[in-house]
C-alpha cells in the first residue's frame, strides 16, 4: 500500500514507509488530529463564549420566508453569473480574434482594451458605471450596472485564455488550412477555434465560477444577488455572523461542484 495514492502529482516526495516511518507517521497523525480538533473546539468555545451559538440567532435561517429571501438571491446570482459568463465568452473570443488579427488597426485597439480591463480592478469599473454614469447622463438599469463591468473584466480575462489556446495549437493546423485554399477567416472559424474550444472546456466552467464570484459586487451596487441579500438579511435579523456563514456555504458548495465538473471535463475521454 502506498500512502500517497490520493495525489499522484506529488507521488515521489516520500518513499513507501518502513516500520519506523509508519510509527512516526502514526504519531504525527495523532498529534495533528489533536491540534486540528483543538483548534475547532477553540473556535466553537469562543463562539459559545460570545453567545453566537444561541439558537435564537440561528433560528431565522431555518424559517422558510428567510430561506426564500436568500435563495432568491442565489437565483439572481446564478442568472447574472450565467448571462455574464456567456456574454464575456462572446466578447472575449471576439477580442482575442481581434488581437490575433493581422491588421494592426484591429489588433492594437483590441490589445489595448484587453490589457486595460485586465489591469484595473473590477470594482473601479463598477463605481465608474454606478457613480460616473448618472453624472454624465447615462442611466443604466441595475442589472447592466453590474453586468457591463463584469463582462468587460471577465471578457478580457477570457480573451487571454482563448489567445493562449490559439497559440498553443499546432501551427500545422493553420498552415494546412491555408494550403487547402481557405481564407484566414475560414481557417480560424472552421479549423482553429473548434479545436481551441474543445481544449478549453474546463476554462468555460472556470469562467462561470469567475463571473459567479464577481457578481458578488452586487453588494456594492445594491443589486439583489446572494451577497447583497445576505447583507440585507443579516441586518434585518441582526445575525451577521450566521447569515454570512450560510451565504459563504452556498457559494462554496456551488463553486466547488462546478470546479469538480471542470476537473471531469479536463480528463481525457476514455474511449
Amino acid at each position: 500500500m502506498t500512502v500517497n495514492q490520493a495525489d499522484p502529482a506529488t507521488g515521489a516526495l516520500f518513499d513507501e514507509l518502513g516500520p519506523r516511518g509508519r510509527k512516526r507517521l502514526r504519531w504525527a497523525t495523532v498529534i495533528a488530529s489533536i491540534v486540528v480538533l483543538g483548534l475547532v473546539v477553540a473556535v466553537i468555545a469562543q463562539l459559545a463564549h460570545v453567545g453566537q451559538l444561541a439558537g435564537r440567532l440561528w433560528a431565522p435561517l431555518g424559517e422558510w420566508p428567510y430561506q426564500r429571501f436568500l435563495l432568491g438571491g442565489l437565483v439572481t446570482t446564478l442568472e447574472i453569473g450565467l448571462s455574464a459568463a456567456a456574454m464575456s465568452m462572446v466578447v472575449g473570443t471576439a477580442a482575442a480574434i481581434g488581437r490575433l488579427s493581422g491588421h494592426r488597426w484591429v489588433s492594437l485597439p483590441c490589445t489595448a482594451a484587453i490589457e486595460l480591463f485586465r489591469s484595473i480592478p473590477l470594482i473601479l469599473l463598477v463605481y465608474f458605471f454606478l457613480i460616473g454614469g448618472p453624472m454624465v447622463g447615462i442611466y443604466l438599469p441595475p442589472y447592466w450596472e453590474l453586468a457591463i463591468p463584469i463582462v468587460l473584466h471577465a471578457g478580457s480575462v477570457f480573451a487571454e485564455i482563448v489567445r493562449a489556446g490559439v497559440n498553443s495549437l499546432d501551427r500545422g493546423q493553420t498552415d494546412a488550412g491555408l494550403a487547402l485554399g481557405l481564407r484566414r477567416q475560414q481557417v480560424l472559424t472552421l479549423v482553429v477555434l473548434p479545436q481551441v474550444f474543445r481544449n478549453l472546456r474546463p476554462a468555460l466552467v472556470s469562467q462561470l465560477i469567475r463571473t459567479l464570484k464577481e457578481s458578488s459586487l452586487g453588494y456594492v451596487v445594491s443589486y439583489p444577488e446572494l451577497l447583497n441579500r445576505g447583507q440585507v438579511l443579516g441586518e434585518y435579523t441582526a445575525n451577521f455572523l450566521q447569515t454570512y456563514f450560510v451565504t459563504a456555504a452556498i457559494y462554496i458548495v456551488i463553486n466547488f461542484a462546478l470546479s469538480r465538473i471542470a476537473e471531469l471535463l479536463d480528463r481525457p475521454k476514455s474511449s
Binding site: L13, L122, L124, F128, I131, G133, L212, F240, S259
Partner: protein, 214 residues
Amino acid sequence: MSILFDHLGELGTGLLTTLELSVLAFPLAVLLGTVLGVCRVSPVPPLRAVATGYVHCFRNAPLLLIMVMVVFALPYAGVTVPLFGSVVLGLGLYFASYVCETIRSGIASIPIGQIEAARAIGLGFGGVLREVVLPQTFRSMVQPLGNIFINTALGSALAAAVGVQELTGSARQFNLTYAQPVPSFVAAGIGYLLITLTAGQIIGFIERKVGIER
C-alpha cells in the same frame, strides 16, 4: 480637470494605501500558502485534509464576501481587528489558497529524478522539501507568484466597499465631493496600471535573475 490636479494628493495617499495593503497582505498570503502547500503534499492525512478543505473554501468564496465577513462578522465572534488589519487579513487568507495551489503545481513541476536522487542520498520528507524541492519551486514560481501579487493589488480595491480609503475609495470620495467622474476614475485607473506595469517589470527582472532554464 484643474480640481483634480489640486487634489492629486488625496489620490496619491490612496495609491500609497493600496500599495501598503498589497505589500502587507502578499507576504501573509505567501507564508500561509506555503505552510498549507507543504501540508497538502505531506504524508500526514489530517494535515492534508485541513489544507485541502482550506483551499476549497477560500478559492470558491468571493473575495468580497471574505472581506465583508472579516470586517463585519468577525467582531461578533469576539475578534476585533482594526479595519486596515481586517482588510489585510482578508486579502491574505484569500490569496493564501492561490499560493497553496501554485506551490503544489510548482512542486509537481520538479523533475522526479531530482527527488529520487535526494531520497537516494538519505534525505527524508523534510530534507527533500527544504534542500531540493522548495528552493527550486520558488524560483520556478516567480511568474505565478508575481501574478498573485498583481491580483492582490487589484483585489485590495474591494477594500473600498468596506470603507478603506485606498485608491478606488479615494477616487469614489473625490467623485462624490466634486462630481468629476471621468478624470478621477481615469486617474485611479492610471494608478493601478502603474502598479501592475511596475510589478510586471520587477517580476520579469527577478525571473531573469533567478529563473531556471529547462
